[in-house]
Amino acid sequence: MSTIPPPPLSDQDVADLLKPKAFWEQQGVIKSLIIALLSTIVIFGGIAFTVGRSEGWGAVQQAFFSRPDMRAAFPKVWEGFQLNIKMFMIAEPLVLAFGLILALIRIGTNPVLFPVRAIAIAYIDLFRGAPALLVIMMLGFGMPGLRISWLPNDPVFWGITACVITSSAYTAETFRAGIESVHRSQRSAARSLGLSNRQTFQHVVLPQGIKAVIPPLISGFVSLQKETALVSTIGPLEATRRAQIYSALNFNYSSYVIAALLFIALTIPLARFTDYLLQRSAKRMQMGGLA
């Protein structure tokens, strides 16, 4: 350590310090890239090598990834997939509405509504725990089995109903978590301005609570999309059912892979949208650091 302090940087040097750097000029980026590349090659190369060298790979590839079979199965599977989309589009708004109503009943404190609250809690406990597949089968086979003349017989109707029942129990808990995450001080502020309990809830608590749980709600959409595949067990010719028919006739499972690809293609945009929302809210939080 010298006794003379080093001279300050010249203006040019400071300007160099502040100059924006290209991505690859940043410290350690090249090294990180090389390591990432090598580990990717090792891991994926290893998997490909092991699977490709395995004795049965040829047969498995033929059974699951046969191009001609995929092409042949596609029209019917695609036709069935439209039924999945239809069931999802009908069920989702109902799930949101019903889930929100359940959540509102659950968080209420009015003593008169205690019985309703007890029913809501029992409903949520029951259908959040019961496997969707069982609910679908019980409604799909059980309800028409009752032979009540005015009840619909359509399995699609009962499939959608079962999806709504199970998903709304989940969604209710998501809404409740969001509403309860709104800080008490927000209520104090609204009440101090003279807003009634109801107005406070409607204009201050509920909008913030729902906003907080948009990403998990979208996650719920994705599960619901997949749940519609379970409706195949009670008969409707949706994508997985079509795939099953093809595979039974042709002794080839590639039709299932096509169905899976269609489901994946539908969920990826939603997943990216969720990422975008999360990123945006994280950015907003960081800006709060100024305060």
């Binding site: 001080s185 301005l193 003279g194 807003l195 305060a291």
Partner: protein, 246 residues
């Protein structure tokens, strides 16, 4: 002269814990009352009770000729007549500044939106914040947020404004801008009650300084005599402690 606010023998407990004991106090119209005392002495609780955010267990709080503490039925109307500003600003994060200010006038008083917005813009302009009208709270500094919170309370044209340690959460360089707005309100003759830890500010702005200790009023008086010649030993000890801290 009849006081704007009169506290009569007010007791308040949280469970087994008595936080206000026998509070008797008059707040005159157009006056500024400063509540001082150590943290937990009951300053904030007294303000929260005045705004009916807390129930009292005994006594009466009169706003002119209405007993606030015993009129549950019109509680919402009464709250609207008493404005309150909090230590942590509590702006609504999902609404822009203009919406924050106009929500209550539109929903509670039934003002037309355009009318309420005009008045909000007037207030923002007077306090130098008009350019923030369409910003969201998280884009503003703490000082700006707190000034907006004060404007939001003022937009309801309350008869008394309660300020609960409104500068305590702020960075030092932002305390001044919030104090300036409070001084301006005093010059506009707005009745205020403030809980504060800033003795210098209290002595500058108060018409009446009230010292609370363990939930009781120990001493009150005009700042000129209160700070220079406190009558009680406990007041002297408290003032010594806080001036030493500065």
């Amino acid at each position: 002269m009849i006081a704007l606010l009169r506290y009569e023998s007010v007791y308040k407990a949280y469970g087994q814990n008595l936080v206000l004991r026998n509070i008797n106090l008059d707040v005159q119209e157009h006056s500024v009352t400063c509540l001082i005392g150590a943290s937990g002495c009951g300053k904030s609780t007294l303000l929260r009770c005045t705004n009916l955010l807390e129930e009292i267990q005994h006594g009466a709080i009169w706003l002119r000729d209405i007993d606030l503490a015993n009129s549950q039925k019109q509680a919402d109307d009464l709250r609207a007549r008493v404005g309150m500003v909090f230590q942590s600003y509590n702006l609504f994060p999902h609404m822009n500044v203009l919406k924050n200010i106009t929500l209550a006038p539109v929903k509670v008083k039934g003002e037309r939106r355009s009318e309420a917005e005009d008045r909000a813009r007037d207030l923002l302009q007077r306090f130098g914040l008009l350019d923030k009208a369409l910003e969201y709270p998280d884009r503003l500094s703490g000082g700006q947020q707190q000034r907006i919170a004060i404007i939001r309370a003022l937009a309801m044209q309350p008869e008394v404004l309660l300020l609960d340690e409104v500068t305590s959460a702020l960075d030092p360089e932002m305390v001044g801008e919030v104090m300036d707005i409070i001084i301006e309100l005093k010059n506009l003759n707005i009745t205020m009650m403030l809980a504060t830890h800033q003795m210098g500010f209290a002595s500058q702005i108060a018409d009446n300084v009230v010292f609370l200790d363990s939930g009781s009023i120990v001493e009150q008086g005009h700042p000129s005599q209160f700070f220079s010649n406190p009558q009680h030993e406990r007041t002297r000890q408290f003032l010594e402690r806080v001036t030493m801290a500065i």
